[in-house]
Symmetry: C2
Subunit: 261 residues, 2 copies
DNA sequence: GAGAGACACG
DNA sequence: CGTGTCTCTC
């Protein structure tokens, strides 16, 4: 089979940035684009424009916050929205589909606000619940990709000042432990299989002047895969150029290419 | 002396449209631009950008509403802000200066909301008070221009459906009478000395789709002058093209050119 | 800093 | 419809 490229992108309002996204997709020709923070309720989702561009699309949104979507060249099957069987999945943070024999789970993990806040505990619970989610549905020998805005930089290499920022939301030992537990179920970090240098970030705070040029970013968006899919990955990268647009999202797309078995 | 061009423009937020205004001024090279609805308090007025473009500027604003300014190639003298000696001039609606021996009074007359409202009576009082303003300060034989957003279309020719709209705010007999009283002090409508055709408007409601193309406008912005200045006027017009910008004001600039005596 | 929403205004 | 205000979120 031909190369199969999967992208994860926190778009920070699909209505503001859909034109820019479609132009970028036209250039880069990805197979699957997983979006977070679409920030639009389903009635207002710009479905027609995506269909006209020749893609399938599935989505689950809320008014003004959260919101996830999967745009795909190939027909998505076995669509799942939300966790089911879990009391705290009233937010639009998880959407999943089987595309070309590979199950793609796209999540927007809660940001967490501040350690010691209720929101932070919610984030930890949310991450912990993902282990149940995968264990109940899949086997580590399945072709499963877990992608999205995880709102966690897992390693020192994934953040611009690990010493100073340790303990902050997004780079906190409790988050690292929670995420490691899910990873231990059977995931590999596809990006790090190919790119081992630092200063490869997917998020730069709007409030820090010239953060991109100054290298003041975080790698908090991820593409993780089970061993059988990771084995077939051939490349990965971050489309940093999109973060330099006139009106950019605060995130850049992360992508990985596979030769699907 | 060379030609002297005076412009009146309700800019509907100078912060949003200053770049567009300066580009237009660069093309058209006016001597004086009188603005209304700058919608910015004096601390936030973009003075430096105007000075850098080679103009003088005087202004009086409020937070979020009203606000008047005069941009001028030539040094403004005898600057007056507000009516003085009148109880109801706490709003930023009047600014005046002597520029090249001609006194220019730039006003943003209250919109009036609805006939029978208190705001409508305020508008009528405001207009009536302008007669005192001129009588106390000038003589009809002086070189005086009264320009601005008058929020009144004086004649049937100044509105797209005079029969239907008669009695609405902006085209009401009481407004016509009030304005006529001030005019009788000694003003001529400079624009109408040169342009006698209809469909020459300065305002098109944002809420009416394609109002400009469909000719659904009002001529409510004016350049009036005393006889000695009117006699030296050589041309006038409306810069309708600016109303077709990507993010236009709901008004277009009105201009008049003089060979000053 | 930049999205969202809601409200006031013309 | 398109300005402004303010509050909320990340």
């Amino acid at each position: 089979m031909a190369a199969f490229t999967v992208v994860s992108y926190n778009i920070n309002s699909i209505r503001v940035r859909l034109d820019s996204l479609l132009a970028w997709m036209h250039k880069t020709n990805p197979d699957v684009v997983c979006l977070q923070e679409t920030k639009v309720q389903d009635n207002d989702f710009p479905e027609q424009q995506i269909l006209s561009a020749g893609y399938h699309v599935i989505y689950k949104g809320e008014k003004s916050r959260n919101g996830v979507a999967i745009i795909s060249k190939h027909l998505p099957n076995d669509i799942q929205i939300g966790h089911n069987n879990w009391g705290r999945d009233n937010e639009a943070r998880l959407i999943s589909a089987k595309i070309c024999n590979c199950t793609i789970v796209n999540t927007y993990i809660p940001q967490g606000q501040e350690p010691n806040s209720d929101y932070f505990q919610y984030k930890l619970d949310w991450i912990a619940h993902m282990q149940n989610y995968f264990a109940e549905r899949f086997n580590p020998s399945d072709l499963v990709l877990w992608v999205g805005d995880f709102n966690v930089a897992p390693e020192p290499l994934d953040i611009y000042d690990p010493a100073r920022l340790l303990g902050r939301v997004g780079y906190h030992p409790d988050e690292h432990a929670a995420l490691q537990n899910v990873k231990a179920w059977g995931f590999l970090d596809i990006f790090r299989q190919h790119i081992t240098e630092g200063n490869n970030y997917t998020f730069w705070d709007y409030r820090i002047k010239n953060a991109v040029d100054r290298g003041l970013g975080w790698r908090i968006d991820h593409i993780w895969g089970t061993e059988p899919i990771a084995r077939h990955s051939v490349n990965a990268g971050i489309a940093k150029d999109l973060r330099r647009d006139l009106r950019p999202s605060d995130h850049a797309p992360i992508w990985a290419t596979f030769n699907l078995p």
